[in-house]
Every structure is written in structure tokens, then in C-alpha cells.
Symmetry: none
Subunit: 120 residues, 4 copies
Amino acid sequence: MFQLDLKSGVPISDQIVNGFIKLTALGILSGGEKMPSVRSLASQFSVNPNTVQKAYTLLEQNGIIYSVKGKGSFVSDDEHSHKAIIDGATKEFCRAVRTAHQLGLTKDDLIKCIEREADV
Amino acid sequence: MFQLDLKSGVPISDQIVNGFIKLTALGILSGGEKMPSVRSLASQFSVNPNTVQKAYTLLEQNGIIYSVKGKGSFVSDDEHSHKAIIDGATKEFCRAVRTAHQLGLTKDDLIKCIEREADV
Amino acid sequence: MFQLDLKSGVPISDQIVNGFIKLTALGILSGGEKMPSVRSLASQFSVNPNTVQKAYTLLEQNGIIYSVKGKGSFVSDDEHSHKAIIDGATKEFCRAVRTAHQLGLTKDDLIKCIEREADV
Amino acid sequence: MFQLDLKSGVPISDQIVNGFIKLTALGILSGGEKMPSVRSLASQFSVNPNTVQKAYTLLEQNGIIYSVKGKGSFVSDDEHSHKAIIDGATKEFCRAVRTAHQLGLTKDDLIKCIEREADV
DNA sequence: GTGGTCTAGACCACA
DNA sequence: GTGGTCTAGACCACA
């Protein structure tokens, strides 16, 4: 699935959120599929169930998954989850553009960076 | 100079760092100029001196300013500080590009965002 | 009959209760009519029989249905069930009015909402 | 301030959220005012700090308060918090109207209820 | 079994 | 001191 870096300073719950967002973005996880249960994932990562629970709550608030008490958590329909991910990522990226621009990077600098990093 | 936004969630020390980086990027602050003293800036912003101190330390670590014992802190020569700022901003931005790309934003999406946000 | 929405977060047993209440309110189910057996409904909905049983118990407690040992469950006579439904709904709605009013919605706000949502 | 009912079945964190929403709606708490610290409120209510923390996080997500690490939590500007409260309450109430309407309450029934409960 | 809430208490970054 | 994250583990409703 994905790895956690306990010493990175990034909250573990956020790492779990990001991990699942990537899996979904890559199509490895798709609509309706069952998520691992809170407890099983916690023991798999040797992490507290509360931490996983928090991550799942965040994922649900962002429309990536939905949970059914007593049954489990499930990935939202592809259309829904895909839109949620693209929307979030776009917002985040546009903020980065604004910051870079304010610090004096020119449009050309930014595009050069894209050519280098986001090449097909 | 610049304003602090306590509600933004961004650590105040980071906001101070960013504020000075912007002033320098815009050429409002230039090489050799004296920075306000930690204590004066703290009282001006009604903020804890430790917070300003932390910001100054970060600025120094990034090569934007340098301090002279007993005299105060000064902006690095233009060439030096400018390079430091551009380098930092580029690194940060490229990371944002990678993340956005991994989450499924296409090159076109990214460029569209730049057109919108970084317009002259 | 009616559909269950697993993603809604509303307990399935409550959804079954509400489903039958609506069918009765609409006159699709009327007094004396036999309810589907717990087991048949459970398999029809691919849901745990306990869940259906719980719903039936709630419906009985609210006077919407009654059960006869060895024969099954039946819809209460129209007058009875209709009154039970209206009473419950009224109580619930009045509570919502109180809450909304306490939070600062004016009588006009509330009525505007009714015009919009409960239009013929 | 307000009281908690530990046996009500309503999550304590939600009760705290609702309590502060009411205090704000009533104007007892207004923009910029400092909220009690997580720990002090927890001890005042004899409740775990995590529970208060959760409530504060929810209030922040709803735009009612904002928190500054190291300084405390504060009520959002009146305009902002007021809008957030009215929006939330309206959404909630409209849902109640739909439900009541589906169960057969007529527009007149609903309005009668408003006259009774939301009288000036 | 499964998600969700809660207590008790440690530890961190920030001010 | 203040908010925020986390562990350890209990307990509840729902299925």
C-alpha cells in the first residue's frame, strides 16, 4: 500500500490521508471498494486505532470515502472521489503558484519547473 | 511593512520570515540595510520577542540576513539574498508541482492555474 | 417499495422505519395489510435480519404496526397509524423549530424555508 | 455558561459545540473574544481535554472560532460567525421541513407549529 | 466485527 | 500556558 514515516514531523493521520488519496488518484483503489477496517490498518501500521480513525474521518469529510457503522468504510464512487481529489489538489497548487509568484519567480520560471517535474 | 494574520493558522514566526522575504524580493529592503531590532519589532507587532528571534534565526539560516554581535541584524548583499530567495522558492514550488502531478493534475491544469494566478 | 442509502450515515434500521412510515403516510400501505416477514425483507435488502427486526420493533413501539405471534406483522388500522405518524412528525418538527429559533432564525426565515421546501 | 448532560446520548463534544453556538447566537460571546482554554474548560466540565479539543476543532471547521497555537482560541468576527451559524441552522431546518412534509404534515400544520414555538 | 466517542495522560510546537 | 497529535485502552451503537 504505502509507507509511513514516523519521524517526518508530518502528522501520521495526514500521512494516512495522503496515502489513500494517492492510491485513489492512481486508480489502485476505486469506487465502492472496501477500505481496511480501522483496527486492522492500525495494527498493520503499528499505530493507534484513534490515529487511523482520525484519518478516516478526514477522508470522509473530504468526500473520498464514506463509512457505514457496523459494516466498514468504503471508497466513494469514482466520479465523486476523483472530483474531490482534483479539487483539493488544484486549490493547493494554486496557492503554491501565488506564493512563488510573490517571491519573484516569473511565469517562465514556473513553467520551466513544470516541464521538468510533470513530464509525461 | 507587512501585516500579521493571527487567524491564518500559519505560525507567526513563519509569517515574519515570509514578510521580510517579500520585502526583500520587492526590493523594499536592500543589501546592507539594518533590520529592526528584535525587541522593537516584537513590541511593534505586540508579539513575543522569542517569536521574532526565531524568525530572525530562520532568515539567517536561509542567508537572507546576517547578524553582527553588538550591532544588530542586516540584510545580506542583494545578489546573495536574491539568490537565496529564488532558490528557496523554486525548490518549494517544484515540490508542489510533483505533488499536484501525482494527484492527477495534468500539465495543462497546472499551466491554466499559473495563467490565472501569476498574471502580470 | 423504498431504497436504502448505505452512505447516508443514517442507521439502516432507521431508514427502514422511515421507509415504512412514508409508505403508510402515502396510503400505499394501509390498515390490516401484512408486512413482509423479517427474513424476506432482510434478504431482499441484503441486510442483517437483526436490523430489520429492530426496525419492526421500533415501528410497533410507535403504533404503526402490530405483530401477531405465529402470523406476522400487520399495519395498524388507518386511523391509528395515521395519527401515530402525524403525532411523531409534529413533535419532531416542533423541536426543529425551537432549535432554529434559538439560533436566531426569524419567523420569516422559517416560513420562507417552508414555502421553498413544502410547496405543493 | 451552559450545562452538559452526560447521559443524553448526544456526544459530549457535540453538546459543547451546540453550547457555544447558542452563546454566540445570543450575543453573549462576540467577535474576537477569547474562548476558555481547552484544558480549563475540560476541568471545569470534568471532561477529558481531548473531548473539548474535538469540539473546538469542529467549531473551527464551521467558522465559529479560530485558534492560534500558543495563544488560544477566539470567536470569529461577528459577521463571519453569525453567517456560519445562520447557514448551518437554515440547512438543518430545511431538512426538517422536507421530512415533515413527506410524512404528511401540511403547510398549515408546519406554520401552526411555528406560530406556537417561535413566537416573539 | 465495525465505526465512533471517550478517558487518561504523554509529548510537541509555538508564544 | 496554549493548541494539536498521539498512545493505550474502554465502551457504545449498529449489523
